[in-house]
Subunit: 162 residues, 4 copies
């Protein structure tokens, strides 16, 4: 790919350049702490246990950040983004599908904070947060699953289904 | 206390006012996450275990932030503050005493992040970080102990002794 | 004042200690830039001109952060704090009085950013922001004046009157 | 461009995605203020005057952040990056050439803060900062010029020459 092949509106992203900016996704104050926390966690627990632990933390987080009632998917998405945006935690998009609800969460700080190799289990935090929010919205019996764990940019996909 | 009783150079600090500023000690992005992490931790582990866990995280953090060699206590203190200051993690002061070395760490974000009730075990992070740095500086056999856990302002005292 | 004289709920604030925390009121990224900007401004403009310039910047800021319509003073205050809180710009309180409306804005980052000596003219930013918001809310002909410029903590008082 | 066309090590950057992350280059607390400042500036001053004003601010900034003496270009570059890195202001690279010294400054927060249309004159800040640092390092008579103003990512190129 050459720079000239990018179309209008696209930014040329070289192989090295974004790394610096991606680190800015996680505030400097906690980068070192959270990286050390991640290393300690992986030395003590299996990935599945780590995912479950992060999901429990995510459920507590969402319970402390309850959403106002909403009649529509768009209203629910807006309420979620009101929380995420204020914390520089990225952007959520909800899409209803025959199989349930697709959740696209772009640009979380999880990869920048815990390190890219730990992004898969760290995504459990988003799983737990969305689970709690959907439970509170009345989605009894539906489960949030991870469809694609957070990538380098902290973007993940999840799915709510029976 | 009335405002007029404060002497020159002192700031009038009412009972309510500092709370807002103290919250600024912890970056907004991770306040909610770390508060939820703390709640999950205390539901699963005893305070002593939590202190030990935090100390292990602190040791990993310090190992990832090694200090340059220093011949003097002042040089060591400067090297430590070089790390802390860049991360908005407060200020360290070292004082040699007959019993060992007193470490005063003021204004860590630990209380603002984990919540004041959890500051005692969260102080384990500082204990582990200083332990690792003193070990690396050649203080074999000396142990860092917590003399006074982090207060509302995130200020704690520790001691290095045999 | 000794520490033991502080009553329950009050924090002991020594003469030196708060300075470190107050600096945290202004994000590290812009502290140096804004301090240099302030020095350049005072070398070129008189204090009154600086206040006017800051007021114009404040009006533009408020126009870019419009408030939802509100029927009550409380609703207006909540809408203002929704903006300020999300940016770590402190807390506003509105009080109706026979003479007009008193505005107390506590803990702005203005003193931490521009330096305490420059806080008086920097307060013009708040004056302009509130002027714009009250104009948009229908307060035609009413003027926001500074009653007490921002102090060390960035706290200021303003007044809306005919 | 499809994602599959990106080569190993490159990140897929869609047309919309980077914008969100780029905003993170400027801390949330000052985004609104600095955008309003930029609008006020362009309403009052011509681009060339704005560039000169920013250069004066940059010179004051650099004078307040003096560099330790260095015998080599690499040492000078390291000292500069020590300042920039601590403030999340990006990365500088110096390259000596027959014509003088090329300065590449990548990922400044200038475009994210002042807005991309204002990045050209905002680059004056970097021009002034490097001018002051080279003056202090003994480069009497040499001038820093802007070779390419800050782009969307805040990356600019400057040149020191007679």
């Amino acid at each position: 790919m050459t720079t000239s092949s990018t179309t209008a509106g696209e930014l040329p992203c070289g192989s090295m350049e974004p790394a610096h900016i991606h680190r800015l996704q996680c505030s400097r104050q906690w980068r070192g702490f959270l990286a050390a926390l991640a290393e300690e966690f992986v030395s003590a627990l299996a990935p599945q246990e780590l995912g479950t632990l992060m999901a429990r933390i995510g459920m507590r987080f969402a319970a402390e950040h309850p959403l106002p009632a909403s009649d529509t998917v768009q209203g629910l998405q807006d309420a979620m983004n009101h929380v995420w945006s204020a914390l520089d935690w990225g952007v959520a998009e909800l899409h209803q599908s025959p199989a349930g609800m697709d959740i696209s969460h772009r640009f979380s700080p999880l990869a920048a904070a815990f390190g890219e190799p730990h992004a898969p289990w760290a995504t459990g935090f988003l799983q737990g947060a969305y689970q709690q929010w959907f439970d509170a919205a009345g989605g009894a019996g539906l489960r949030v699953q991870i469809a694609a764990a957070a990538d380098t940019l902290g973007s993940a996909r999840l799915r709510l289904a029976a």
